[in-house]
Symmetry: none
Subunit: 415 residues, 2 copies
Amino acid sequence: MIVELVSVGTELLLGNIVNTNAQFLAEQCALLGLSVYHQVVVGDNEGRLAEVLRMALGRSDVVILGGGLGPTEDDLTKEVCAKVMGLELVEDPHTRKRIEEYLKGGIFKEIPDNNWKQAMIPEGAIVLDNDNGTAPGLIMEKDGKRVILLPGPPKELCPMFLNQVSPYLKKLQPDVIRSQMVKICGMGESQVEDKLLDVIDRQTNPTIATYAKTGEVHLRITARAADEEEAKRLIKPVVKEIRNRFGDFVYSVREDETLEMAVVKLLLKYGLTVTTAESCTGGLLAGRIINVPGASEVFREGFITYSNKAKRKYLEVSKSTLKKYGAVSGQTAREMAAGGVFAADCDACVAVTGIAGPDGATEEKPVGLVYIATYMKKKITVEKYQFKGNREKVREQAVVKALDLLRRSILENYR
Amino acid sequence: MIVELVSVGTELLLGNIVNTNAQFLAEQCALLGLSVYHQVVVGDNEGRLAEVLRMALGRSDVVILGGGLGPTEDDLTKEVCAKVMGLELVEDPHTRKRIEEYLKGGIFKEIPDNNWKQAMIPEGAIVLDNDNGTAPGLIMEKDGKRVILLPGPPKELCPMFLNQVSPYLKKLQPDVIRSQMVKICGMGESQVEDKLLDVIDRQTNPTIATYAKTGEVHLRITARAADEEEAKRLIKPVVKEIRNRFGDFVYSVREDETLEMAVVKLLLKYGLTVTTAESCTGGLLAGRIINVPGASEVFREGFITYSNKAKRKYLEVSKSTLKKYGAVSGQTAREMAAGGVFAADCDACVAVTGIAGPDGATEEKPVGLVYIATYMKKKITVEKYQFKGNREKVREQAVVKALDLLRRSILENYR
């Protein structure tokens, strides 16, 4: 069953707001096993809206429109849809009564006339009551096609979809769709696909989709099946195969688990405390670790040592190291990591020093050069990176690589 | 001139991500005085993409496509566009060299073969260099129509549009559209609109649009005129009026100046050094200050004191304060701020302590309770906030308020 999503609103065309409705509806349709091939945004314009609807009806079974059901003259989604479907508008006494109840005692002494426009519905349409506004939703059925109209504000659209439209669509679609995430760190997207090309090519159900994030690649394995059990049975061997191929590059198989969560989980598992010693990332690394609820169990204090003086004062990086190798060097990163463990009296430290740019680069040390080091069990690991992009991008990539190095160091030293 | 926006990507159709690119591009087109009547999302599917492009070319002068330029087999935006436009793909040596340079020294020992696909360009196309990835952007011109291809990741698409596409489109459009930003911190969007209602209603050219950001409101004043001079002349009195009404709530009138930039500029102006003492924000505040190029002039070290012990050890918060008032209290925030100045031997400190949640709340201290303090010239200012939202949102809002308190404290003490 093919669904098309049409968002109606000039504010979307002008870029005043982000189209979160489309994302919500698309996600919900995917969960219901419905295919969405097109999403369209069009303004409150009769001709263009009618054309978009006709086209959508031609290529899709269900068209879901959001927006343009308000009480003003601009709002014409319902009128245009009724016209295209060849349905008359008639007043719905039930809806009229609901509007009256919703508005009375509100900001209006008398209900403005234009609100009654919202009580007019296309003949034979299913009315979806709106608990969070005055515009009802509508479902029109004709010639095997279905047109569903929803109010535009997300606080009205989302609950109406979940409570009334989703059960309606479920009946049209017997299959269940389930998906499972595999998250990989330390490899680029094309490298991951290279390693997985035969598996991706072989699969039709489940399918494998790859998503590139900063420093990470996420794989989504999606199965369509008659029931939950069957879907799980289809997904399991594919996940197993991926884990076999990528080993420790896989940091999580949970949709809602971030890299920093995986790191904190490992620290908790081995009963370790960690600190951070940051120069160019200047607190962002600690900030991500502390974003994990309960991070206080593993993280107590961190160092932002942006100046050389601070590196010496808090982390006891030696004057001669700074002089001989410079602040951005493997040697300084090593001493920062070791110094962090001693200063914070904890089990592990991850240190970052680099040139985020745009200033501070030299011939030998270009913008994007970053050294990351971990210290634990008296062992130091140092990695050197050359990142691309602007200051923000360099720092963001450095944070991801630092989290990943910490993760890999824990596995190496404690597993 | 009519522009159509086409976003290509299965992850959009599945609702895995929100289409922020469409919002960004729509907003930019509006700024350039270009009309957007349709936005479309379509998957990485040859037939459907070709159909969408043909339709867009039929009803628009310029089609901007985002996404599907990656190195994998799935990515076929460029191939389909070239086919529809009737252009051959040829290898571009310049782009091949750039890809090589971008990828060498990175995670690859050898550059995977599929990356070279990105060096193929439609004959005669204008190549837009990508400083933040390997996929170049492309502009194709044929029969009075223009097709512009941009890489999907926002960090690649946005700078490429701003630096290369926007100047190109500007030339196609004779009227000049100029806009000026006024950035406000410390007031909500509806409060700002209330205070400005008569001005907004009165204006048609320039227009005033408001945008709500976390803890900030941005006003964009946009004028359409025959030339730059005239546009500036239209904008100037409106900006003056807004500045009169909002005073120090206005932190910048520059598009590219962030709140942290405004703060660093003030610190530089008065020759001050600052440090940070963070509990719940755990480095994010320092991270934002250090995101300003040249921050090393004003920021040398920062404290992440997540545990009570760390607050005592580095900031000399007294044991009795922590016992009597707790870590999340105005008193602790005061002592953190004062302690930071002494420990880092600098001029000013901004301190944050709060309950980011989801754990750690009590009846008297709910999730979202945050105290922020500044210390400078031996004077302490403390503010108490009750933020809404999840852990991430609470921390993000705390960072913005901390930057703003620091800004206001500098103005109060040094201006």
